[in-house]
Structure formats: structure tokens, C-alpha cells
């Protein structure tokens, strides 16, 4: 049984409890009184990709719409502007809850695979943990070519003036494509990250099993 089916079985008909126990800050969801200030204050709410505003996500959680919530791209659209946290009359840490739900969906493998925020987060993490430094050239190219070679070239051409400007200002080094600069103690960083990853994994595994 996969983690997804195991947890779906465990919390059958009680998705709210699942969110409370598994999602960071998830225990705040029940405090929402559906006033709508978070949604009204959300700058991304104008975008078509913002399918469900926070207050609707909270209601969906309470209504047990597990599949719809976890496969939604909505929480991935959060830009962490913190407007909702500042204004929420019940002081719900809405930004953190959005990230918490997104992370949980990712952990279960239910998050939309090619959702740009999710894709970029993975890319960024791999990029910076590899050498201990962010390789901006590889990072941006990785994002451009996310949907294939053709789309990548098209995206790249759109930004070519910016890229040339950066080249001229010596803010972009094309040789970064080959290896790139590294931090001094690359092995040390990787050992540290490995340890942190193990701690986190065992904590979350205990939660999911418990």
C-alpha cells in the first residue's frame, strides 16, 4: 500500500483531522470563520490559476474534499506576501498553512507535477545543494526548458535582451554552464544536509505511521 492510500484509509472521512496532524500549522484550519478577508486581500486572487482562495480551501478541507485539495495547484500560487496573515481576524498563519498543504501534497506525490512553483522549488533545491552555491544560469535555464526544448527556446528568446544586458554588465557568466562555482567545503555541506534530511524524514515518517 502506498503512503497515499494508507493515509487516505487512516483518515477516511476525516480529512480535517489528517490536515491537522500531518500538515505544518494544519491545526489552525478549524479556526477559520469564513469571513473572506484573506481571499479579498490576496494579490494572486486575480490570476486564473488561483482556483481556490484560502478560505475556500479551508472549507474544502472541512468538507472532506481530499482529492480536490491535494491535487489543486491553488496553494502553490501563494507568493508569501503575508497580507492574509496580517489581516486575518482570527490570526490564522494562512501563508504557512498554504505552504504546509503544498508540502504535504508533494510528500504524498499528489501535487501537480509540472506546476511551475513546485517544479522551480525542486530545481532550486537540487541546484543549490549540489555545489553549495546557487548556479543562476543553470537554474533559469532549467525553468525555461521545463516544458521541452521548443518551449524553452521560445522562453529564452523572450528574455534575450535581459540576458545580453546581464552579460555586458558581467552579471552573467556563460561558463557557469560547465560546473560552475562551488562553496569551499562542498562535502561538509552535503553531509550536513543529509543529516538534516534524515532527521526530517524520520520525523515525518513517524507522524505518517503514528
Amino acid at each position: 500500500m502506498s503512503a497515499n492510500t494508507a493515509l487516505a484509509e487512516k483518515y477516511r472521512n476525516n480529512f480535517l483531522k489528517e490536515i491537522e496532524e500531518q500538515v505544518e500549522m494544519g491545526d489552525w484550519v478549524k479556526m477559520c470563520m469564513q469571513c473572506g478577508v484573506c481571499s479579498g486581500s490576496c494579490p494572486t486572487n486575480f490570476q486564473s490559476a488561483w482556483e481556490h482562495p484560502p478560505q475556500e480551501l479551508f472549507m474544502m478541507i472541512r468538507a472532506g474534499k481530499r482529492e480536490e485539495v491535494l491535487t489543486s495547484s491553488s496553494m502553490w500560487n501563494c507568493t508569501s506576501c503575508y497580507n492574509c496573515i496580517v489581516r486575518c481576524p482570527r490570526k490564522l498563519p494562512i501563508t504557512h498553512i498554504m505552504h504546509g498543504i503544498a508540502e504535504y501534497a508533494h510528500r504524498l506525490g499528489m501535487a501537480p507535477k509540472m506546476q511551475p512553483t513546485r517544479f522551480f522549488s525542486g530545481l532550486f533545491w537540487k541546484n543549490c545543494t549540489h555545489t553549495g552555491r546557487v548556479n543562476e544560469l543553470k537554474l533559469s535555464m532549467g525553468l525555461y526548458f521545463k516544458d521541452g526544448l521548443g518551449a524553452g527556446i521560445k522562453e529564452g528568446m523572450k528574455m534575450k535582451d535581459v540576458a545580453i544586458g546581464l552579460l555586458k554588465a558581467k552579471r552573467l557568466n556563460p561558463f557557469e554552464l560547465f560546473g560552475g562555482h562551488k562553496c569551499k567545503d562542498q562535502k561538509g555541506i552535503q553531509a550536513m544536509l543529509k543529516k538534516a534530511y534524515e532527521i526530517e524524514r524520520s520525523r515525518k515518517a513517524a507522524k505518517m505511521a503514528g
Binding site: 470563520m33 486581500s41 481576524p89
Partner: protein, 427 residues
């Protein structure tokens, strides 16, 4: 009204609004001596500033008139206006209270003829109308003020205007030499009925109160509807004086909000439902009200009132707390938010936006002399540690007029019990 000497069998009532008046009268009518201290130049408090009461939509003058008649007939109540309590010493059954009395500059000879008001030229802000308008610096606080006596604003003392007022008075009622004084009052028990103040709407930054002229508070709206108000009872926009026919009411402006007031102020839903009646009364043809709400809390027996307003085609209910207000080029206040029913974003202009502001206890942030136990919102709790200082009305909770009167009667009864014990001990 005879002056009596206050003893420790006297009950001191602080605040002369509906609660304080009730507590004072209930105690006095059982034979107790009462000193009633009021900060303003006239009794009546915020109740007298309402256009109408819910649920019967009668004018507050009616209810106040009954109380004023009881007061005039009762020699046991001594009323001090323009007076504030500055200190309380002592304990249950034996308090000494310091009261600072500001000068009125008008003595009891005043017949309220109004000659001084006509003579004076200086205009000052009119707090009775929430500073929406101005009045002369020699003024009657409001149409049914008790005591029915003029007041001179301290701003004109020492100016030629004060002399003009004095010269105009045929009854020798103006005394420009009155000074501020502090008096000591003995009391066995104290009823603290200092009421409430509207929450400072400017603190709710996204609503733009103070920045946008056509965003006003519910208490200001009461004054706009009142015939004695700054517009003579016409609902006009503050920005350009245009008739405001499309009016939005925003509920929980400050209340039920951890960033502002933690508590539900209890009256605001009913107040807004009531105020939709004003809109219909003034503009029966094309008046439109829109209520933005989280949930309507028509407390107690008022559900039928809510249902009647719901059935009114001129009133629209939108289940959403408005996130932000902006102003468009016509001076309209534009409400932005997301409707919880359907999760649709709206951007709706209104002629006027009325913020149903919450109730903040007047005692909050004020150092009540002595030690008073208050709840997390600042309302006075019924706690033995308070000794014989009893909260009444909106000093003790967010209440409507009806409940404030009940609360004041209860506080009066507690105070009576204390002074009865004192009387027994002394006999």
C-alpha cells in the same frame, strides 16, 4: 432637587448614560441617596445620540424622557455634570471619591432662551454630532439636554465673545469667573457605568476611514439620519453633499478581530439592520442598502426583525467581510472582497460606506482609581476583588439599551445591598 450630604450610605454612580441614569434612579427609588457623575454637560450618553432604537424604531427621546421625569421628581439623586472621577480611596462601605468638576460658566438662572448663542460668533466642533458639524461656542448640548442649560466652550473664555454672551443674557446666568474644582464625595458603593466608545475606525487601515470622506461610522450615520443632526435628517455624502442612495454597511468593523477588538460587539448587526430602515425611510423610491457580513447575529428575540429586512427588496446581503475599500473618481467608496457564497471576487462602488464599528469599553486604557478586574477586552468583570465597585451597562459588557438597563438594575441592587449593610452596622 435638594442637595444632600453624601455619606457612606450614599451610592455613587459614575456615568449618566442610560445605564447610569437607570442605576441611579433604581437605587434612589428604593430610598437611597445617590450622586450621579456625568462627564458631559448633559445626561443621556450615547443613547441620546441615536436616531432610533431597535427593534420598535421609536425615538430615544421617548425612553429618555421617562427617565428624566423620574429624575426631576426624585430629590435623592444629585446630578453633577461636567464632572469626572479622578480617584477612589477606601474600601467596601467606605469610599472617598475625588471628582473634578469643570466650569460650565452658566449657572442655574439659565432659562435656555438662547440669547447667548445668538450673540456669540465663534464656532466649535460639535461632539454630540461626532464632530460632523459645528455649533456656536455658547450652546445647548442637545435638544433635550438635562440640565436644560447652556454651556460656554472654554475656548472663548477671556475673549470678547464671552463678554458678548454675558451682555446678551437677561437673567444674569453667565458667570465667567467659574473655576475648575475638585470635590470629595463619600460613598458606600460605586456603580461604574461609563459606557462605551466607538472603536477608532482609522485603525482598520484597509477601510480608509479618515482618508476617504464617504467612509463613515455607524454612530455618525445615526447623526446623519437625525433631524437634529448636521444635515437636518438628510442622508448626504460628506464629500460633496450629494444624496447617498446606494449605501453599504460593513459588519464587524473592528469587532471579532484579534487585531482590533476580540469580542463580538453584539449590537452592530441589529444597528445595521435598523439603519437599512433609515435608507428606505429617506429614499423610499430608490434607496439601496447592501450589508456585507460574516454572519448576522440578530441576538435574542430579534430574528424576526432580521427576517423582515431580508424580505425587503431594497436590501442585499453579501456574505463576505470586505477586504479593502478604495475611492473612485466620482468619490464613491469601492468595496473589494470575495463573496463566500460562490467565492467570486467583487469590486462594488457605493455612494456611502457605513462601518458598523465595534464597542470599546470606555474604561479601557483608563486607570480606574482602585483595582478593577476586567476581561481581555477591558470590560469590568463581576469579581469580589472589585469590592463595592460594580460595573453596569456597557462598562461591563457589549450591550444594547435593553440589556444595559437590565445590567444597571442588577448593579444598583448590588450597591443597595452594600449600603444596607453599612446602615445596619451604624444603627
Amino acid at each position: 432637587m435638594t442637595e444632600h450630604v453624601a455619606t457612606n450610605e450614599t451610592i455613587l454612580v459614575v456615568g449618566g448614560g442610560i445605564s447610569g441614569m437607570t442605576a441611579a434612579l433604581e437605587a434612589a427609588e428604593t430610598g437611597k441617596n445617590v450622586v450621579l457623575v456625568e462627564k458631559n454637560p448633559a445626561l443621556g450618553g450615547r443613547t441620546s445620540q441615536l436616531y432610533r432604537y431597535f427593534p420598535k424604531l421609536c425615538h430615544p427621546t421617548c425612553g429618555l424622557e421617562i427617565n428624566l421625569r423620574r429624575l426631576k421628581n426624585n430629590p435623592r439623586v444629585r446630578v453633577l455634570t461636567l464632572a469626572e472621577v479622578t480617584g477612589i480611596e477606601g474600601s467596601t462601605g467606605n469610599y472617598t471619591v475625588s471628582v473634578k468638576v469643570k466650569p460650565r460658566y452658566v449657572n442655574e438662572n439659565c432659562t435656555a432662551c438662547g440669547d447667548c448663542g445668538r450673540a456669540v460668533e465663534t464656532m466649535v466642533d460639535d461632539p454630540f454630532n461626532y464632530n460632523l458639524g459645528q455649533h456656536k461656542a455658547a450652546f445647548l448640548p442637545n435638544a433635550m439636554a438635562y440640565p436644560q442649560r447652556y454651556v460656554l466652550d472654554p475656548a472663548i473664555i477671556g475673549t470678547p465673545d464671552a463678554d458678548k454672551a454675558k451682555a446678551a443674557c437677561k437673567y444674569g446666568a453667565i458667570d465667567l469667573d467659574m473655576k475648575e474644582e475638585t470635590i470629595q464625595v463619600k460613598a458606600g458603593a460605586v456603580v461604574w457605568a461609563t459606557g462605551w466608545q466607538p472603536y477608532d475606525a482609522a485603525k482598520i487601515q484597509p477601510y480608509g476611514y479618515g482618508r476617504f470622506k464617504n467612509v463613515i461610522t455607524s454612530v455618525e450615520f445615526e447623526r446623519l439620519a437625525d433631524i437634529h443632526g448636521p444635515t437636518g435628517g438628510k442622508i448626504l455624502r460628506p464629500s460633496d453633499g450629494k444624496e447617498a442612495k446606494n449605501i453599504a454597511f460593513i459588519q464587524c468593523a473592528g469587532s471579532r478581530d484579534e487585531n482590533h477588538l476580540r469580542h463580538c460587539s453584539r449590537i452592530c448587526c441589529m444597528a445595521s439592520l435598523k439603519q437599512t430602515h433609515y435608507v428606505r425611510e429617506k429614499y423610499p423610491e430608490d434607496g439601496k442598502s447592501t450589508i456585507y457580513y460574516i454572519d448576522i447575529r440578530a441576538i435574542d428575540r430579534f430574528e424576526d426583525f432580521y427576517q423582515k429586512v431580508q424580505a425587503d427588496p431594497s436590501v442585499t446581503f453579501i456574505k463576505s467581510k470586505v477586504a479593502k475599500i478604495t475611492e473612485d473618481e466620482h468619490g464613491n467608496a469601492v468595496c473589494h472582497g470575495v463573496d463566500t457564497e460562490g467565492y467570486k471576487r467583487y469590486t462594488t462602488p457605493h455612494d456611502l460606506v457605513v462601518l458598523a464599528v465595534g464597542m470599546e469599553p470606555s474604561v479601557k486604557g483608563i486607570n480606574i482609581p482602585g483595582h478593577i478586574v476586567a476581561d481581555s477586552s477591558g470590560f469590568i468583570e463581576a469579581d469580589p476583588a472589585n469590592g463595592a465597585v460594580f460595573g453596569a451597562g456597557c462598562a461591563s459588557n457589549a450591550l444594547d439599551v435593553n440589556r444595559a438597563v437590565q445590567s444597571a438594575t442588577a448593579a444598583a441592587l448590588r450597591a443597595i445591598q452594600v449600603v444596607n449593610k453599612v446602615a445596619k452596622a451604624e444603627a
